[in-house]
Every structure is written in C-alpha cells, then in structure tokens.
Amino acid sequence: MNKIGNISPRQAFFLILILLNGIFYLMLPRQLVNEVGSMGWLALMLGLGAAIAIIGFITGLGRRYADKSIVQYAPLILGKALGYPISLVLLLYFAMLAVGSLRIFAELLNSALLPETPRLVLIGSLVLLVYWVVQNGLEDIARVTEFLSPFIIFLLFLALLGNIQYADISRLKPVVFIEWWKIGRGILSTVSYFGLVVTLLMLFPFIKPYDRVARMGFFVVVTGGLISGVTYLSLLTTFGVEETARMAWPVLEMVRMVRISSFLERLDALFLAVWLTTAFLNASLLSFCFLEGTSQLLGYSYRKLTLPVLGIFVVITLLPPGLIQVLNIYRYLEIYGFVITLGIPLLLFLVSSIKKGGKHGAEKNR
C-alpha cells in the first residue's frame, strides 16, 4: 500500500472534482437537454441529492473498513460468492469509464481540433502518458491533478463568464412540463454522472485522514453540481433547447463563443487543449482504480498489469466507428452506471449495517 502513496482529502477533492467536471462533463448537459429540455434543473437537483446519499453510503462503509477498498471488504460483507462478482462488476464499470473518457476525448479532438489525425495516434499518445503516471502511483496522479485543476477551473470559469454576454433568459421559456418518465431518464443520467464518485470506494483506503472524506465528498458533489448547473443554464440561455440538443459538444460550442475582444477570440483551440488534460487525468484515475482493484482481486502488483490493460483499453476504444455509435453506447453505459453507482454502495451499506448491528463489532473496526 505504501508504494502507491497516500493522498490528502484536498487532493481527493480535486481528483473527484476533475472527474465530475472533466471529460464526462461534456456529455451531461446535452443528455439533460435531450431528455428533459428546460426541466433539466429538476433532474439535476434530484440527481445531486442521490449523489449526496451515495457519498453517505460510501463514507459509512469507508469508516467501517478504513484500510480496505471495496474489493477487499465486499467479500467480507456479502460473502465470497456475492462479493467478488460485485467487485468485478464495479471494476468493469471503471474500465468502461476509462475507455469512454479516452474515446470521448478522441472524438472531441477529431471533431474540433485535428480532424485528420488518426484516432490511434491521439489515444495512443495520451495512453502513454497515462501509463507513465499510473506507474508512478496514485500520489503522483493526485499531485498532477492538484497542479492542473486550478487552471482547468479557471478556464471553466472564464468560459462561463465569457458567455454571459450572449445569455438571454427568455430562451429558457417555455418551461413545459414533461412526462415523469422523461424526468426519470434525466435523473438517471445525472445520477450516473455524479455516480462517478464511486471511485471513492476504491480510493478510500488511500485517503488520510479518512474522517474528512465525508465532508470532502459532500463539497465535491455540491461544487460539481453547481458547476454543472451553471453550465446547463448558461447553455440554455445561450443556445436554447433545440440548438443545444443539435450540438455534438454543447460545452465546447460555448467555449467557442467566448470573445473577450476583437483580438482575443477564437481561442477554443487553447481552451480545448487545456481541457483535454482532464481526459488524461480522468483516464489515469479510472485506470488506476481498475488496475488497483484488479490487482487486489488477483493478488498481483498492478504495475505489471498496467501495460496489457492499457493496451486492451486502446483497442476497445478504437472499436466504435463514429460519434453517434459512441453516444448510443454511452446511453447504455448510463443505465449500467446508474444501477451500479446507486445499487452497490446502498446494498453493501445496508447489509453491513445489519450485520454489524447484530455483532456489535462496529466499534472495533473503527
């Protein structure tokens, strides 16, 4: 455990925040607009609530098994027959997310910056860096994130601020009531998006001191939710519902609109380049989570697994032919994510609560 290194709650905050407002952040607003139109705020709020609950479960579990990750305590709670499959399902989710972040990143680059560059080069060059930093350990991932996140957040802020000039509140209207099931779909999107905090299940044993994790988790979800909410509003007021739904990358379009003066415009390439570091950070974190979990499951050192696993990631990433296929896959991933992110922490928490309640063993483990 020592060679991976420990991270502080602040570093964990940045890790999760960049995960929330990183590459998947590009997807959420369009999903919301597509599914719920201008009622998205409702879905956002409800999803946020669910995410806070998830954080509660995760930290509750974490406190009971402070030095163990989910892969290690799931069998303890549920027994080996159920515990291992559940860890496997979660790890698979991490892998899919890592692959997804890489692919979204490549799509974004291909559609906006380097249309003729082969995807293999784009992904390959990034994966090499991911490999490097993952080999260096979690501590280094956290530090790189910590170093870069102020820039990324500053950029986000600038993009949101730069778009105020185009905002027109009337574009939010009419607020038409939408069927419940559609809002439900929106909530599903939001939850699976905020559900990225399940990485905490994996990271928990590395965060020291762990008693601050709950507060950190709460803040990170609220901050991430706030940023997403503001972005969502900003998108709707700038582009309206229809146009936002038409766009491939609404957030990127928003950045492209930023114009500070006649000589500071069209800076999206710069913005995009900085932003793409989030793809790197997210892919690193998610790959680490997958690798560390797998190594705990198999008993190998994860450093040996890194290269083959990342190689497989690259291959899978290259499979879908185009953006529309990626988006279709992403829709299924959302449902999968929803079930996992809400289901696993809840299940484990409940079962362990019942068990502990019976055995009075909670104190000891603390």
Partner: protein
Amino acid sequence: MVQKRIGKPLLGVLILSFLLTGCWNRQEINEIGFAVGLGVDKAEKLYQVTTQLALPAKLAEGGGGGEEPPVWVVSGQGKTIFEAIRDINTRSPRKPFWGHLNVIVIGEEAAKDGIIPFIDLFSRGHEFRRLNQIVVAKGKAREVLEAQPKLENITAVFLNRLVENRGGQSVAPGVNVNDLLITLSTPGIDPFLPKIEAREKEVHIKEPPQKEEEQKAGGGEGKKPGEKKEEKPKEILELRGGAAFRGDKFAGWLNEVETRGLLWATGGVGSGILAVESPWQKDKFVSLEIKGAQGEIVPQLAANKPGALIKVKASLNLVEQQDSRFLEDPRSLQRLQELAANEIKGEIMKGVEKARTLQSDIFGFEGKFYKEDYNSWKKIDWKQKWQELQVNYQVDTVIETSSMAIRPVKLSSEVAR
C-alpha cells in the same frame, strides 16, 4: 529502471508520432487561403459559393496601394455548399481556411429558395463559427463581395465593421449564425436579417426618411448598375434595412424606417437619431439622439384572439435644435417627449404593417405566446393570425438635455421678442 521510467514514455511519444507521422493537419500559415468573406448565391439549381481570399503578400506590404485589390474573389458551384467550396479548390491552389471568416453574405435568390439547406454547414464545420455575421444581399452575393469599398482593404472586414457598428442609426439588425439558428428552431418567430447593398455611388434620400417611395427609387437604381457590372467594381456598400423571412424563405425587404420600428419593439435599438418635427415652428426639426431603448412585446389574449402590446421605453438626448423655442419650460419638454413617442410609435406601426403585408412574423408575436403563455399558444389557431392580430402600443420617452448649450441659436429680432 529510472532511465526507463523517464525515457520510455517520452521516447514513445516521439517515436509514435514520427512513425505515424504525416503531420496530418499541418498547413503552413502561408499555404492556406484566408477566406474572409463568403457569399452564397443560387445559380439555377446549383449553389454558387463565392469566397474572398485575402492576398497576404499584398496586404503585408502595406497593400491596397496598387491597382489590384488585396483580395481575390473566386467562386465555385455545387449541389451543396460543401461541394461548391471544394469546387473552389479547382481554381485556387490554397485551400480556403474559414477560421478567419468575418461575414456570410446570402444572395437574394438563394434566400428566396430557403436558407435551411445551407445554414447547416455553418454550424457543423469546425472552422466556421457561430459568431459569424449573416447579411442578405440585394441582388447577388458575389456583387457585394466584389465591391471595393474604401477605408478597409478587405471588403469582408469592411462589412464586418459595418455590421458591428450598424451605421449608428439602428436601421439594420445584427444577426449571427447562432441567433439565426435559434430563431429558426423557435416556433412563432421568423428570421430577420440585415440587408446589404452594393452601389456604384451613394444614393441619398431627398426627404426626411419617412417616404417609402424614395426607398423604392433607391432600390430601382440599384438594379441598373447590375447590368453593367463588369465595367467597374462598386465602391459603396450600404447596410440599411432588412430582409424578412417566412419560415426559412425570403419574404421581402423592410426599409430602414420599418426596420427600426421592428428593432424598437424587439429591443434592438441602441443608437441613432430621431428627427422630430418641431411643434412650434413648421418645417423645423429637433434632433434627438437615442441613448438607449428597451422594447418588449407582451402577448395579450382578447376573446381567444391573439394580440400584443408593444412596450418601448426610450431615453433620448436633445442634440440639435432648428427652431428657437426655449425648452427650459418643463411642459415644452413634455410636448417634445410626446412627439418623440409618437414618432417612435409611427415607426413601429410601419414595421408591423409591413410584417402583416409580408405575412412574416419577424416580431415574433406568436413566439411570445409560445414562450409566455404556452397553453394559449396551443389553443389559438395561428393560421388566422394576420387577420386577427391586434397590436397595441405603449411608448414612453425621456428626453435628457445634457449638452454644451442650453438655448438654441436665435436671430437678434427673435431675442428681442
């Protein structure tokens, strides 16, 4: 181990890049054609895309001095816009680069056939931007791009500046691709784009800008040079008035008064001069500078029939006075304010009437219902709207008198009196 740790990824990146190199998207800056302007015309069934390529060598020398203009106007044709753009490549070795596009000019004919077919590309291609301004040319877009205005070397830059300043008279709207797309996708509102016209020489309106006939005459004159266009490029570009659409198809022109009427209602008036006839002396006028205006269209439902209240609040500044009335008396100012309000109301009415005749909902009366009163919007039969629509007006003006002089110029005889 350490050597590997640093060396491997870095070397890997380099090797990977080099092995697979082709530098896929690389284009040296002096090997691209800076397309600063783009025009869309319809030539029979095909689209004709005209682009204005800047000639950097000429411009860098401090160009414009020679006979040749520093831009090159070249066209291509195709069934789609992109095909037409690629057709340009058969004539130009440098691929047009749209990142520096300033303005998109739509020819009248192309606009009549609908703008939806070609607007898509401008929001799909990553080189195009949603902030590109769109104007509709009276006549052909190519004529506008071929014009050689003074002051700016590049026509498109000239156009862009023109659109951004909007003549200081608020007689043309400013519309970019984003606005247009949103308008197109919003129910109950029709696009309204600024009108650009290339002329051989200036055409002036002999009377205060109230008479429509003059405008028509001007339009008539504009057509004549079109026949002998080969002889000499036009020097004057005018951005006045606007093009009203019905759906995505061109419906008709609005002159500058009607345009400003529309802009009053939609809140697009930012600056300009309002010349009001003096109530105290005939044929004398008072210039009121528009400081700012707020316009709002409030949907009103009367007996299940759509109506609208156009509310305008304008703050004006008295900048010029031809008559000799002292305006220190608050009642005189009051009078002037009312007159100004009437004048504004008149402009709006003209705009509404024009919209009614063109059956183009450029004001967005229906759209207001859609946004503010969604349930009524669903109930109302909008086919009848132009017969049923009742428009009310409420114009308030405030006149400030902050200037370097307080009293008007007077003859000695008048002062004595």
